[in-house]
Structures are given as structure tokens and as C-alpha cells.
Amino acid sequence: MNAIDVRNIVKTFGDFTAVKGISFAVEEGEIFGLLGPNGAGKSTLIRMMVTLLPPTSGTAVINGFDVVKQSDGVRQSIGVIPQAMTSDLELSVEENLIIFAKLYSVPRGKRERLITELLEAVELTQWRKAQVKNLSGGMRRRVEIARGLVHEPRIFFLDEPTTGLDPVSRVAVWEMLAKIKRERNLTILITTHYMDEADKLCDRIAIVDHGELKALDSPLRLKASIPGKNSLEVSFTNAPGDWQERVERLPGVESVTAHDDIFRIATGSGPATTLALMELAATSGVTIGSLSVQSTSLDDVFVHYTGRALRDALQEANPLERGPLLRRA
């Protein structure tokens, strides 16, 4: 039995369709990532799976329970970490966990043991009595991870769990999740717009954009599914009108996409294509503004399947955000 089975699920808000008939299944023990920019429909999708929003059509079966007809069974089976930090700042770490254990009707004796184990797992034992408002952002996220597991769920949903955390805290959260998953045989579904997070953490990734499922596979297979072993990202000045066609004819080049003066070149041989490109630019009087060569990344996968870079999609969704949203391994 699949831990999660989503079939042709749709969610509309008035005239706007946020999720357009997505289907996928998550196996038990898997870490499954939903990757996409803000506004792609990831949070709506996860909210339907955790019974916060009723689907307009389609079905989702979580741990064998239908999200509409057997919502209580779903709720008992899942732990959920919403996107926002929702721990009570005025309460201590322990009190936050106790309250949620009571909400899940965890018996008193078991509650004590579980809380102790969980605080050890998220390395917050010494902060047990501390008020949450005195903890750092990364520690608060760990409190929430412990809170979401306080009733021993089978499936753990995390909606952008590392958004807003510094790089060190993000890595700590990834390691913690990987450890907890191993120890508890959890199935984890995580939404993210961080490429490196999806790449490092997830067994399989579903790329979601504009409410549609664009691709679904393991990170390795997704990377292998697109042309080229290397990716060149180049900006030019004085590029002539037929420049893209001329670049496509260079040795090793498999595909070229251009967006806002940035050319993304997929190639089977990064060094050979780089040399040829520099030679072509010099002979054509075109100046190279910047050039980077890297192995094929999930961002290239995202470009291939959605036609745009994830960072561009993020900036479309949040025009005021200009932070370093794309991180490469």
C-alpha cells in the first residue's frame, strides 16, 4: 500500500484553479519532495492532503484513509509542520509538546516517554523548560518537528520547513529529518523551493508549476532525463540577433535557452563548448559578461520542464524578494 495516493486532485478558488488535476503516489518510508516556486500550488496541495482544505475534485488517500470521507483517520496518521512558525512563544518547549500530545489524546505515561525521546532526537533536551520565545529560529523549527511527531504519526508533512532559516540551521534540519526518518521509518512529504534541499533530502521529487505536475522522479533520474552533462550559464553584450542559433551549432551543445540576456547551454562536454564559445565570441565581437560551468542541476531540470528558471519564477511570485534563492551544491 502506498503511504500517499493522490489521484487527479483539483482545487479551485472562484475562477482561479490552484491545483490542476495532479496525481502521484508516495511509497512508505520515502522522502518525497514537492518542488516549485511560491504560488505553484504546493501549499494548496499539501493542505488538501492534511485535511485543511477540501479538494474541489479528485481524491487523496493518506495511510489508507480518504481525506474527505475519513478525515479523522488521516489526522491521526499524520504529523504536520505548517509553513509559518506556530509554536506558542509564551510556553516552554515541553509545554508546547504536552499540549499537542493532549490534542492527539496520547496517554499520560506514554506522553512523558515520547517527549523525552523526541527532545533527544531534535537535540533540545537541555532546552526542555525554556520558553520558545528565547530560542533561535532553527531551534523553534526543531520544536515544531518534535511537536509534529508527538503522537507517533506514520506520515510527516512539512511545508517549506527551512524557509527563513540561516544555512547552518537549514543543514541541521535536513540532518535531523534524515535521522528521524531512518529511526522511525517515517514517510515524509516536504515542499520546498530550495533546489539543494530537494536534491539532498528527497528520494523522489515532483516538480510543480502553475498548479500542474511537470515531472516526477528521483533527483538523479530527473537530471539524467534532460540533455547534457554540463550546464553553461553565460551573459553576453552586443549579441547579434542570430546568436542563439550560432551557439546551438557549437560542438557538444545539446540545447540552448535564453532568458533576460542569460543563455543556458546544455552540453555533453563543458570544457570543449566553453573553449568554442569563447573563440566564437572573440571572432564575432561579442563580449562575454559572465560565464559559469556546472554539472546539471535540479535548476536545469526545472528550466527544462517548466521553461523558466526557478529563481525567475520565485521573483515573479515575490517581486520584492531579491535574496540568494538559488543555491548550488
Binding site: I78, A84, T86, L91, K102, S105
Partner: protein, 370 residues
């Protein structure tokens, strides 16, 4: 029920660790009680009365003597003699005096002729309290002036003997019931309104909704915790306010018990009202925006600061539907008259029906999803 208690426990733990919230909810009603109670409760004194005697006869001198006696006795007025009527009226317009008493030139002649003698009071009527106090004082003076020096042994005039069945009620005591209701409402507004919506906006309710908690357990948790907080605020203000206002025998156990019951009923009614108003709201600014309006619409028509019999018709309609009206009446009965439950049965019945209707409507509107 365990889940409901989990929510109550959470809310009360947060409440205990939010001293700012407690202070905010209690300080305003106490300040209002003390400031308004003493500001409105006292007698008006030292009003400046210009006396323009154009007559100078013996009857006019007698009126002036009576005015001087009132001035040195109750101190309601301070008299100032003016020779020029024009100057007196000019000073009245400029606010130097509060009224001008003119004794006309033919006053003595009319007194002696028993031909409707008159004096004139020209007053600054922009302040109703001042003009009423001054007219009342001068009315009393003229009534004393008109009494015969020696009356008949057996009076033929019908007189009214007033018997007050309760001790004198200073205005601060009159105001106390409204202040208690206000403290309950403040706690309901902050704890049940503003924080409820802030929690919703922060996503805290999302945390509840993904647990197996039932809709009714969730509603019960919110409302019972809100009621407990409001009861604590109401009882605190009731006890402190009774001491400040000088309510006789404030710690009588039976009266405290009856007051506790009313505080509970009022708290539940107001938290139900707040839950109904906020059940579909998600904008954190909204409860803050309606706070003042709601406070005014509920508090002032309730008879907390002024008798409802003086209201225009449309305001009396508001008063009939206003739960504050019944809460204030019940507290007045218990605090000022020390009555039993019989005197407030109607108030309690209204408040309980109000709670059931409000909570029923709120439950129907409450969505157990986003």
C-alpha cells in the same frame, strides 16, 4: 473533552504569562471608574454669579442677602456685585462669570404691591450641568424668599415626603456596575477577539485543525478559556472596584457568590457575542478597528453612566438588544441594592438566551477547515 481541556490549558498558560494583556484589560476600567466616578459624582461649586441690583430697595437687599448666604453656605455660587448690566453680560459672554442675576428697578414696588415680582437669571447655557445647578440654587433662594415669615400652624399646602430605602449612592458606586461589565468586555475583546484573530493569522489555528479535534471541542475550548479569563477580570474589578467605590460590606459571602454567578453568565454571553463577530474574520486589523465602536455602542446605551429613560427612542431600541443593559442592571441590583436572584431573573434569562443564540450562530458559521 480532553482535547477541549488541552486548548483551555494552553490559553490559560499563555494568559498567565502575558501580564501586559492583564494590565491592559484591567487598568482602563479602573481608571475610568475612578476618574469618571469622581469627575461626575461631586456637587457643582463656586459658580460665579454676577448680581446687578437696579432696584436697591429693601426686598432687593433681602434677595442679595439670601444669595450671599448661599454663597457662604453650600458654596454652590460665589456672588459678585455689578453696577452695570452691560458689563455683567459682557463678562458672562467672556466666561468671567457663569450667570447674571438682574433685580429690575420695579422689583421692590411689585413685591410691596404683590404684583408678580420677578428677577432675571441670564446664564451661560453651554454647560447644562452648570446652568441646572445655578438655576436650582437660585430657585431655592427665591423659594426661601417667598416663604411667609411665620406660616400657619396647620399647612393647607400638600407636601411631598421622600423616603430613600437605600443608603446614599455616590456616582462612583453608580458607575461601578458598568465598569465591571467593561472589564469583562475588555478581556473578551483582547483575549477573545484580538488574540483569537492574531492566532488565526499566525497559523496557530492551523495547528489545531490538523489534529483529530472535533469542531465542537474546538469551539468549547475557545469559549470556555475566554470565559475563564473574563471571569477573572470581572471578579478582580468587582472586588477592587467595590473597595474603591466604598460599597458597603463588599465581602459578604452570599453577595459575592451571587456576583460570581452573574460575572460567569455575563462573561459567557460576551465571549459568545465576540466569537460570533470574529468567527469568519481573518484580518488582524478588524478587531482593533471595531474595538472602540463596539465599546461605545454597547457601553453607553446600557444605562451604565446615565439612566436609559433619558435616551431617545432609537437608542432605547439599541438598549433593549444590548447585553450590557442586562448585565449592568443585574450588577446594580446586587451591588447597590443587595438583592437576591429573584430581582435579576429576567437579566440572567436574557443573557443565557443571548449566549445560546450567539454561540449557536457562531457554531454554524465556524469552519473546521481553512
Amino acid at each position: 473533552m480532553g482535547r477541549t481541556w488541552a486548548i483551555i490549558e494552553r490559553e490559560l498558560r499563555r494568559f498567565r504569562r502575558s501580564p501586559v494583556l492583564i494590565v491592559m484589560a484591567l487598568v482602563m476600567p479602573i481608571v475610568q471608574l475612578v476618574i469618571l466616578g469622581y469627575a461626575f459624582g461631586g456637587n457643582v461649586k463656586h459658580l460665579k454669579l454676577a448680581i446687578v441690583d437696579q432696584d436697591h430697595g429693601m426686598p432687593a437687599v433681602r434677595v442679595r442677602e439670601l444669595a450671599s448666604a448661599a454663597s457662604s453656605g453650600a458654596h454652590t455660587i460665589d456672588t459678585i456685585d455689578y453696577a452695570d448690566q452691560g458689563q455683567a453680560i459682557s463678562d458672562l459672554r467672556n466666561g468671567r462669570v457663569n450667570g447674571v442675576l438682574t433685580i429690575p428697578t420695579d422689583f421692590s414696588r411689585r413685591v410691596l404691591a404683590k404684583n408678580e415680582p420677578r428677577v432675571a437669571l441670564i446664564e451661560d447655557n453651554t454647560d447644562g450641568f452648570v446652568s441646572v445647578a445655578m438655576a436650582g440654587t437660585l430657585g431655592g433662594i427665591l423659594q426661601a424668599y417667598s416663604l411667609p415669615a411665620r406660616g400657619p400652624r396647620i399647612s393647607s399646602v400638600t407636601s411631598l415626603d421622600v423616603v430613600e430605602i437605600y443608603p446614599y449612592v455616590p456616582y462612583i458606586q453608580y458607575l461601578l456596575p458598568g465598569s465591571v461589565v467593561m472589564s469583562i468586555f475588555m478581556m473578551v475583546m483582547i483575549g477573545g477577539g484580538i488574540i483569537f484573530i492574531d492566532d488565526k493569522a499566525r497559523g496557530l489555528h492551523e495547528g489545531y485543525l490538523v489534529t483529530p479535534i472535533k469542531k465542537l471541542e474546538l469551539i468549547a475550548g475557545f469559549n470556555i478559556s475566554g470565559t475563564i479569563k473574563a471571569v477573572l477580570a470581572g471578579m478582580f474589578l468587582l472586588i477592587i472596584g467595590s473597595v474603591i467605590a466604598g460599597i458597603p460590606n463588599p465581602f459578604d459571602p452570599m453577595r459575592l457568590f451571587r456576583l460570581f454567578v452573574v460575572v460567569c453568565v455575563v462573561s459567557f454571553a460576551l465571549i459568545s457575542l465576540m466569537f460570533l463577530l470574529m468567527v469568519r474574520v481573518s484580518d488582524p486589523l478588524l478587531p482593533r478597528a471595531v474595538f472602540g465602536v463596539l465599546n461605545t455602542v454597547l457601553y453607553f446605551p446600557s444605562g451604565a453612566v446615565y439612566p436609559q429613560q433619558g435616551f431617545p427612542g432609537w437608542m432605547q431600541v439599541i438598549a433593549v438588544a444590548d447585553p450590557f443593559t442586562y448585565a449592568v442592571h443585574a450588577f446594580k441590583s446586587l451591588l447597590l441594592k443587595n438583592t437576591g436572584f429573584v430581582a435579576i431573573t429576567y437579566d440572567l434569562t436574557f443573557l443565557m438566551i443571548f449566549s445560546v443564540v450567539s454561540l449557536g450562530a457562531a457554531t454554524a458559521l465556524f469552519k473546521r477547515s481553512l
